[in-house]
Amino acid sequence: MAVPLRTDGAVAGAEAPLELRGISKQFGHVVALDRADFVLRAGTVHALLGENGAGKTSLMRIAYGMVQPDSGSLRIDGRERRLRSPREALRHRIAMVHQHFSLLPRLTAVENFALGGAGRFDRGQETERLMRYAEQLGLFIDPDTRPADMSAAEQQQLEIAKALGRECRVLILDEPAAVLSPAHADALLQQIRALADAGASVALITHKIQDARAVADDVTVLRKGRTVVTGIMSSMDDQTLFAAMLGESSSEGARSDRRIAAVQTAPILAAIRALTSEDPRTHERLRDVSLEIHRGEIVGIAGLEGSGHRLLLRVLAGRHGVLSDAISLPQDIGFIPEDREREAVVADFDLRHNVALKDAADRRGWIPWRQWTERTRALMTEYDVRATSPRASMRTLSGGNQQKLVLARELSANPSLIVAENPTRGLDLRAAGAIRERLRTARSNGAGVVFYSTDLDELASEADRIYVAYAGRVRLCALSREAIGRAMVGAQ
């Protein structure tokens, strides 16, 4: 289905300022990129489309020297290069504006702007330069404020000004519109167009086809780490791009009406009513959110980075720490967070310790290690966790086996509510299937399951109902991938 990029027309003969060919990259057991291609032509805007987890950011991080590819080639102006660090990318005048900004919060705007240079730092001159770039972008940046005191839009403008200040020829923007209001986003797109018209080459990571269409000359679609479509934007219709992003339609997993009716009369297990809350660390927000979880249903949650879904899942898992009348939850909750090594396991400890980790706060007295060993062994058998013994270090297990152990630990006490955040991510088909099967079994045993996934196919086939988070608000959504995809980007 891949379409070769046409390098004909006006720029024929000119070497591409950035060309990535056959790039593969694996993080642990997770394949992020699988022979991906991306060619950025001079003086153009090139949209890089794809769903969450498609590998867009990984590919561009390779172009920016942050990550080293396992294989594949990178060419700058037609010459093969190795970029071992962002510093080397910057030397080739490639700059990147990250989705999670990389500004230093306690340096002032102008200091951030000038960071990375050499010699004397002339504050006056740098301020003047910053102002000039700001003006060119049509905005105002106070040179003496610190990013900590700036809005997301201001921080992003500063990041762009910083990239321009380095006189970059290649500018990579990672989901720049995600943090902006619609008006700001439109202004940004105009700026991007103006930059390209002035001769820069811009790679724009986005999941919004409209944004891509508004500015891009070329488009590349990544799915599951592969380049599935690439070509001139005007030659592609939305339907083609949408299909490329989402992949072949699989069966919609039709559920009988009887089941849904039964769910709706089942008792309510957990409920959130008109909750407005903010995570002080990530600034992720929920605005006036209400939802209910019944016994015996799988409730799917979808949302893009920053939409509020992370906070929503933590509230439902009782891990957010706010006590509020707006939240009612059962006592026994199983929680499977996405970042396993950070939140769910102690990688340096053995399997027994990791099983005993659950609710360690509630126990007193002596640790019945023999029981924990037996319990761990039983869970290993029941959930098919492949490890040499209950005393093997967690670190030595593959991702799939670690995940199965976490699942075993969280589900074995038959909790009435299960919150699973992208539990099959990065697992092979068999491991992922086993985990989905476990969640279905829990549902038939009367548990309520909250299931977040970046794989919309999986979500649509597993969930009985789906809520989509967008900009802190949460809405029910129809059980089709297209509907979810549209709701995730805020389209009605």
Binding site: P86, L90, M96, L107, L115, R120
Partner: protein, 304 residues
Amino acid sequence: MDWVTALLEATVRAATPLALAALGELLIERGGQINIGLEGSVLAGALGAAIVAEPLGAHAGLLGGAAAGALIGALFAVFTIALRTDQIITGTALTLLVLGTTGALARTLFSERGIALTLPMLPVNPIPGLQSIPVLGPALFAQPYIAYFAVLLAIGIHWWLTRTHAGLALRAVGESRENARVAGIQVDRVQWAAVLVGSLLAGISGAVLVLAQSGTFVEGMSAGRGFIAIAIVALGRWRPLPVLLAALLFGATTAAQYTAQTFGWTMPYQVFLAAPYLATLIVLFLSARRLSPASLSQRGPSLA
């Protein structure tokens, strides 16, 4: 000389090595490291100064001290930056190492002669004109040049941190190694440089103890000044000029103790001596994490 002049003179004299070591530690901490081994650099600097000054004179002694301090800093950097060992344990071990090594070396080098070691000292360099100001003149402007150097150094570091790209890079690394790397900064190299230069200054600090104060080398003569420097940096809230003032405060309490003894005052002088540490604790409490470089208290890999 009345007691005010004596007190001021002694304050500046006591504060000079403290200020040098503290400015060194400031550079290291602004780059996101904490070097408990600074005490080792100060002591190594003292011995290095003694060894070099005996044949070559006091000015060369300063260089010897600087080199010895930097050598210990290089060890710290090899362990904490290249091998990623824990900073606290590494610094502690290095301090112990220097205490032991300098003690043994000093005995084999100096003590067999049977007479106390007497070393050439740095002369006093009065500033013409200023030194004749009543009371203040003889106290502040009749010091060895290294005292004026410490003041200029503080101003210089302030300028360097705010007005050079290298200074910006150091502060960026101190806030976030990862973000600094993304901004194109060679993080390890920056931290290496900060540790080397900071330890070099600590070495000079040790040299000053030998060449401007005691005129000899005594085992363990750094007497915790490397640790005091860490306190001074916190009290000065990680800024060069306040750090200079904080060093003067710590110097003043030492000076007050001697002055009190000289002039026969009776009081529990320990109150004076403990006061700056309590003041530092209060500053830490008031400023908490707000002012310290953000990555300072982030721990390395687990130790068990």
